[in-house]
């Protein structure tokens, strides 16, 4: 394969994009190319203008990613009122520490950043549907929550992301603003927030790495979710660009191929076929849009239903509370069971396609085997019996033509011997006939076994189905019981009555949209099949200059696809190798157990193996946390290592974010607090460390002082209205000249606040 340099690759991509914009079907293609981020487009344009690859590389590598300026949280989770954190943006003092005792809301900071970016909080976080501070809601039923994140990108552009939620049951709204130097204010930035965040701020696949909570990675290790980890690793390797570009080019090739076919379609019949195909394509797109719309609506409604159920159960009697919890637990089981029932029904229905021919023709096929087995004379089937003798028609024909029998006798037309051979000739079979007979014999001889398979399959599948349907019915009965308990509870409470009414309305809507979605699904299936059957065949190239030009571009695009595929594979391997190297460097440096990291074959799930046994034996919970911390920091280090690599043309936006570490430094095994702190603090990027005061004073503080990296320090303090007693009183910590009191009892408010100390 021809090797292209980086510039040539960009050049081809640029040509493709330019060509695409002149095609009538550019709408579809452009939607595929949307996946390319503006930075990549910029690079392609650079290439087209004749810039050398080294000029492309000459980006400012000192500023490679996002820097967080500040976070404002208002009535967010456990935090009451407005609280602000100004992160340290000083490159030499790149660590912001947030010191928080357990139960004061340490994780809430990371969750706020997660929420503002992705409209959800990490999967392992608790109470995921309780985002508005409870005390604020008690004081004012119209209390809302808001998180504002200010950040600077590598081009020194400043953005303000604000996410707001007016009630627990409502959807959140996000506003993105960009700093305007002339007006000195943040002005609205028109964009699709989801793609903007994905392409410019942080890839969703990397959120568990940069918004680091040990639990999320531990869950991925536990579930051996190699695909998820692979996506994260690949997002750090530049492969994402190559995958997006490859997908865009694949769409381009398909569309341009259609364009060539259309241009070569001279006759009116083919032109009409194309018109019909395009009409079918539009019909399919319309029905797919409808299906997506209903699915999204349905998801929102079911989420709302869950929230209502939870709310009805909250603060109710034990029985109702339990019923609401059980109801929420049982619903996904019912959905799964229903899916399994439908799959089994489809499998049973599929038996018709597989076995109907053999069943309906069984009588007729059986007769054929009887002739073969018993040499029976069945008058009706003599025609088949005749086929037993595969005389070769051509050989006998030759004898007749030559006029000499194989015994040497002359054969003259009309005489007795000639007639005898001619008679044999009439009974003889051609090779085609013999082959056909053999095929039919195979059908007949295998039929009994196929029928046996059919009955065995039918019996086992129907018995499985009966079991699944039984389970499904039992679960539904259980659900009805829970719903009944929920409906009967607190009948006197008007607020609960309102919620129940709202839940019933939501359930009616769910039923309605389920029906609409299912209808759209059937229509989409039919439209898709119709589209496939209508696709006109590609005619031969007419050789005109326009199609020749398209052909050349398509050839370049195909080359590009294969180059990108090779590059992706290589980049994947390189990144995995680099990751392994960094992981083992960290293990050497910081692990006290002498273990080393290994990846099994294609897996991206790391194993921390003991040098003695060569296998990973059951890790303690501290060991698991340590493994997760090693993996997270190693992946960030892998991204950082690409910055100084001259062969890497650019760092993708979205692949470099500040490292926000909610690691429980105090619970690590085989690694001291100060070592873990050193590992995190040494990363050459902005760091925000959420740390328990004990771990901070036991080693983290000393290490940060030694490294001179701490640029800002905050205390998180919780106010509680009651006297909590021994559990919280007297827990004060002296940190430098400051006193950290995690809990303030008998306060007039309930909630956490944040205080800056340095």
């Amino acid at each position: 394969m021809r090797e292209l340099n980086q510039l040539q690759q960009f050049d081809i991509l640029a040509k493709i994009i330019r060509k695409v914009s002149s095609l009538p079907s550019r709408g579809n293609i452009n939607s595929g190319l949307k996946s390319l981020s503006p930075d990549i487009r910029k690079l392609i344009e650079n290439g087209l203008e004749g810039n050398q690859p080294n000029q492309i590389r000459a980006n400012n590598r000192d500023k490679i990613g996002i820097v967080l300026e500040s976070l404002v949280i208002n009535n967010w989770r456990g935090y009451l009122g407005e609280n602000t954190i100004e992160f340290s943006t000083d490159k030499d003092k790149s660590v912001t520490t947030i010191i928080a005792e357990n139960q004061t809301g340490k994780s809430g900071i990371l969750e706020a950043i997660h929420w503002v970016l992705y409209d959800d909080i990490p999967v392992t976080a608790s109470n995921s549907d309780n985002l508005i501070n409870d005390f604020a809601e008690q004081q004012d039923s119209k209390a809302t929550t808001e998180v504002i994140l200010k950040l600077i990108n590598k081009d020194d552009e400043k953005y303000e992301l604000t996410r707001k939620k007016v009630s627990e049951l409502s959807d959140s709204d996000i506003y993105i603003k960009k700093w305007d130097e002339s007006s000195k204010t943040y002005e609205p930035h028109i964009c699709d927030p989801v793609s903007f965040i994905e392409q410019n701020i942080l890839f969703k696949n990397l959120r568990e790495i940069f918004l680091f909570r040990g639990e999320d990675l531990m869950a991925s290790f536990q579930e051996k979710d190699s695909e998820k980890l692979k996506k994260a690793v690949n997002n750090t390797s530049g492969v994402t660009f190559q995958i997006y570009a490859k997908e865009a080019i694949d769409i381009f090739i398909e569309k341009i191929d259609d364009e060539i076919s259309k241009q070569n379609s001279q006759d009116s019949r083919t032109k009409k076929a194309w018109e019909k195909y395009e009409k079918a394509q539009n019909a399919f797109d319309d029905v797919k849009d409808l299906y997506d719309k209903y699915s999204e609506k349905l998801k929102k409604l079911t989420d709302k239903e869950s929230k209502l159920i939870k709310k009805i159960g909250k603060d109710s009697g034990e029985e109702v509370k339990e019923a609401s919890e059980n109801l929420l637990k049982i619903k996904p089981h019912i959905k799964n069971k229903k899916t399994l029932v439908n799959i089994k029904k489809d499998e049973i229905k599929g038996l018709i396609k597989t076995y109907a021919f053999n069943c309906f023709t069984a009588d007729n096929l059986n007769q054929l085997t009887e002739i073969e087995e018993e040499d029976e004379q069945i008058e009706d089937l003599e025609f088949f019996k005749g086929l037993f003798h595969p005389h070769r028609k051509t050989d006998i024909n030759e004898i007749l033509n030559k006029g000499v029998c194989i015994c040497g006798r002359d054969l003259n037309e009309g005489d007795e011997y000639y007639e005898n051979v001619a008679e044999i000739m009439r009974e003889a079979n051609s090779e085609e006939e013999v082959q056909a007979r053999e095929n039919i014999s195979i059908l007949a001889n295998t039929n009994k076994d196929i029928l046996k398979d059919f009955h065995i399959n039918y019996n086992s599948k129907t018995s499985d189905l009966a079991g699944l349907e039984g389970d499904y019915e039992r679960l539904c009965e259980q659900r009805d019981e829970y719903e009944e308990t929920l409906d009967q509870g607190d009948t006197d409470d008007p607020a609960k009555q309102l919620l129940k009414k709202e839940k019933e309305d939501v359930q009616v809507d769910i039923k309605k949209f389920k029906g609409l979605r299912d209808d759209a699904n059937i229509k989409m299936y039919v439209a898709e099949e119709n589209l496939k059957s209508l696709k006109p065949k590609k005619p031969k190239n007419s050789g005109n200059s326009q199609t020749q030009e398209l052909d050349e571009i398509i050839k370049s695009a195909r080359d590009m696809v294969s180059i990108l595929a090779d590059h992706s594979n290589e980049a994947e391997k390189d990144t995995k190798a680099k990751l392994s190297e960094v992981l083992n460097h960290y293990a050497d440096e910081y692990s006290t157990t002498g273990s080393e990291f290994k990846f099994e074959n294609d897996s991206y799930v790391p194993e921390l193996v003991s040098p003695a046994t060569g296998i990973e034996s059951g890790l303690s919970s501290g060991g698991k946390r340590m493994k997760a911390l090693f993996f997270g920091t190693s992946l960030v280090e892998t991204v950082l290592s690409r910055i100084n690599d001259a062969d890497v043309p650019f760092i993708e936006p979205g692949a470099m974010f500040p490292f926000i570490c909610d690691a429980p430094f105090s619970d690590l095994d085989g690694c001291n607090e100060d070592s873990a702190a050193e590992m995190v603090a040494s990363l050459k990027c902005q760091k925000i460390i959420l740390v328990h005061p004990k771990a901070y004073t036991d080693g983290v503080k000393e290490k940060l002082e030694e490294m001179g990296l701490e640029g800002a320090r905050y205390f998180v303090e919780r106010h509680i209205t009651t006297k909590a007693g021994r559990k919280v009183t007297g827990r004060t910590h002296h940190i430098d000249n400051d006193i950290y009191t995690p809990f303030h009892e008998e306060s007039d408010k309930e909630g956490s606040t944040i205080r800056r100390v340095i």
């Binding site: 039919i440 009955h455 099949e529 496939k532």
Partner: protein
């Protein structure tokens, strides 16, 4: 010799039952050959042979399943003509499949009417028929 045009030509009056079988996901819309063989096996079983009068849906010679199912087409041809010469005439064999398929579609159409309003029962009805036709032919392991 390369055959051109259509191998299978089904009567227009069976377009609706084809649509039903596709909507109910028994076959895909690209599986006309498989669908017709299914219907033809029913037509043969019921000895119902209906010549195509008005061209409805078709399958061309160039679709893959035509060559994959040549043996089945020969079987239908041989059963109908009772003459081995038909084995040298593939075009005639597929024509016979088409006509048996028309016969099968007629039966399927009747069955659809029987379960009108309950399309999910259609599969049960066909499967019961398949089982009752073959229960004495397959040697089955004893049931638990």
């Amino acid at each position: 010799m390369t055959l051109t045009g259509d191998a299978l030509i089904i009567d227009e009056k069976f377009t609706d039952i084809r649509k039903f079988l596709i909507e109910q996901e028994f076959f895909k819309s690209t599986q006309n050959v498989e669908l017709c063989i299914f219907a033809a096996s029913i037509g043969l079983h019921n000895k119902n042979f209906i010549e195509t009068e008005k061209r409805g849906f078709v399958a061309g010679w160039d679709v893959g399943p035509i060559s994959e199912n040549k043996g089945k087409a020969h079987f239908f041809g041989l059963k109908y003509t009772k003459n081995k010469d038909v084995l040298s005439n593939e075009k005639r064999c597929w024509e016979i499949v088409s006509h048996y398929a028309n016969g099968g579609f007629e039966w399927l159409e009747e069955k659809r009417k029987e379960v009108s309003g309950h399309p999910e029962d259609f599969a049960k009805l066909i499967l019961n028929e398949m089982r009752s036709l073959t229960s004495d032919m397959a040697t089955l392991p004893p049931e638990d």
